[in-house]
Symmetry: C2
Subunit: 361 residues, 2 copies
């Protein structure tokens, strides 16, 4: 069992990681005084697979609990869902000390965190991520949001959880494609921050895909620690530090949107986005071709895509501008100057971005 | 012109108060770097009366601006309004540096602040309160919220404005009843915090009702300063300090709800709530009868109600419990031990509360 701390003064919190982390949850909730009544937001697949054990853990800690099922899709991230959940929590609450548990992947984490941030001007919540992607990335750092029809994540809050509980035992029930998606984010941390971790992934990716316990635990721990460090130094992404975590995400998001959010999952789109960003870095002379080749080789080995399929340049660029309209200006991209070294660059020429995307078809 | 500071570390902000404060607004916005594009949330009455001057001030500061009109009623404080406003801001935004101006009374302030808190995980906003009630109370302190059908203010955020601009010139267009409503909150500050200010109101209430400039400016400044002090010491109402500001509000809210939010305006309900709370303090031996009489006399002089009409004890108590269900337990009330001295008291016997209400019929 590992315990990491996200240092944010009076909003600091722990991440407990490992096989058996879930069994410790009750004790941690009690120690933190988070509340006596849990409202657990999840979906029916996760509840079916892992609901009984969470229920047992909470029951043993004498925490009253109710499961709320939402649809297993991005569609759950809507103001309508928020409104209906809050009406239900209100009926359940009866002025006891209620807290929320986000029990699932990124969609459930984003939605639940946002509900917690606005219900009665903020109640405690816990992230219990069940996917590798959520464990290494989205459960940490307090970015919560729902979508509007105009754009994803347009409405939200920075609102930190009281605790993150990453039970690696949950990962056994993931489909290989979901596991690979999570590994894309792990590769990202190596590329932007720690060359030795990238090297570790080059050596141990097979064990990771086989869910060998020490390897997968190390990966979750290492990624969580890197993420916690970025978040501690730039909680609200105001200083250009946390921005580095968006490596591969600008083009990745455009690719997800252009393909209607069903051709690629998040990790696959980010893998392609990282390849494009690395290629732009190469074209700008920031890295040698050998660095790009090394990144390509690892992405391929893990089973993530190297080529963009089923969507054209025009629609990717259109989605890129749509996203940019809401999120950032001046063609700002996260690039790299080496494995382990990210840099935020503004005013990247559009022609260069297009070339780099085209070379991925 | 007076400038007060609400000290909240990196969330500190100024309150500019006085005749002519609005003319200074452009300069302050520029100095703070709040943005180049203003989205002004208001209603048609305020826009008609004061819109042209705000428009001119912003234009002179080269700030692009758009007015958004919402209904002049508590009904505007809904998630539906939030959703439609955000869709509109999104279309207007186009990735420029947008900020929101809450231009109106309490309803507009609460709604606009909440929109600002969740749009893109938080953008800057300014409070430009146009009622005495909003100037002395709701525009300061960052409590933002909208209502759900289950209860008022059930969804919201603590989210501080970047600036409050209290133009006392606006108060000239208030109806006498609105002015008296604001004075109820002013009386509250005297009762809970500053006996000398209570005494000042006893001497000068006539000048206040006549909107004599030095008097009304002094009142807005004094109340803002007391509110700022409570907020600085207990931003999120976690330490029982900010709680004192709820003097008169527990019973006041119940009275508003029981009478369907149309018999009494906020200040009138709070005046009656203060009388009940003072009477409970007397019944518990915390104050002499003379103190209650003094409070009654000032409330009467200002033209606020002394007697509860058109609503019965049962429905008030029912509303009290409904509110309590969502907000607080143990019959917690703010009581007083003297003019200028508030104390939060738990477990006040219900029988006593009922007696004090009954004596107001």
């Amino acid at each position: 069992m590992h315990i990491l701390k996200v240092g944010l003064k009076n909003r600091s919190y722990n991440i407990i990681i490992g096989q058996g982390a879930l069994r410790q949850l009750g004790r941690h909730i009690k120690a933190l005084g988070l509340g006596d009544v849990a409202y657990i937001i999840t979906n029916r697949f996760i509840k079916k697979r892992h609901g009984a054990i969470l229920d047992k853990v909470l029951k043993r800690a004498r925490i009253e609990r109710r499961f709320k099922l939402v649809a297993d899709s991005e569609k759950s991230k809507s103001l309508e869902t928020v409104s209906s959940i809050i009406s239900e929590i209100t009926a359940y609450d009866k002025n006891r000390k209620i807290f929320i548990i986000a029990f699932g992947g990124g969609v459930i984490g984003d939605l639940s965190g946002f509900v917690a941030s606005i219900y009665k001007r903020g109640v405690s919540y816990i992230q219990v991520p069940t996917t590798l992607l959520a464990q290494v990335d989205s459960s940490i750092g307090g970015k919560t949001a729902v979508d509007l029809k105009e754009a994803k994540n347009l409405v939200g809050a920075f609102y930190q959880p009281g605790l993150v509980c990453s039970e690696v035992g949950f990962l056994k029930t993931l489909k290989p494609r979901q596991l690979r998606s999570g590994l894309a984010e792990a590769i990202k941390y190596g590329i932007i921050k720690e060359a030795s971790f990238f090297h570790y992934l080059e050596k141990r990716y097979k064990d990771a895909l086989l869910l060998k316990k020490p390897v997968i635990e190390f990966i979750v721990k290492k990624c969580s620690s890197i993420k916690a460090d970025f978040v501690s130094r730039d909680e609200r992404e105001e200083r250009g530090i946390r921005t580095a975590l968006n490596f591969g995400h600008t083009i990745g998001h455009a690719l997800e949107a252009a393909s209607g959010y069903n051709a690629y999952n998040h990790g696959e789109a980010i893998a392609l986005g990282m390849l494009v960003a690395a290629d732009i870095s190469r074209r700008l002379g920031l890295i040698d071709n050998a660095v790009l080749v090394r990144i390509e080789r690892l992405i391929k080995a893990v089973g993530l895509p190297l080529r963009i399929k089923g969507v054209g340049l025009t629609s990717i660029i259109k989605a890129y501008y749509h996203d940019k309209k809401f999120r950032g200006s001046k063609n700002r991209l996260v690039l790299i100057s080496a494995i382990g070294k990210a840099r935020v660059t503004e005013e990247v020429p559009l022609a260069l971005i297009k070339e780099a995307i085209k070379s991925r078809f």
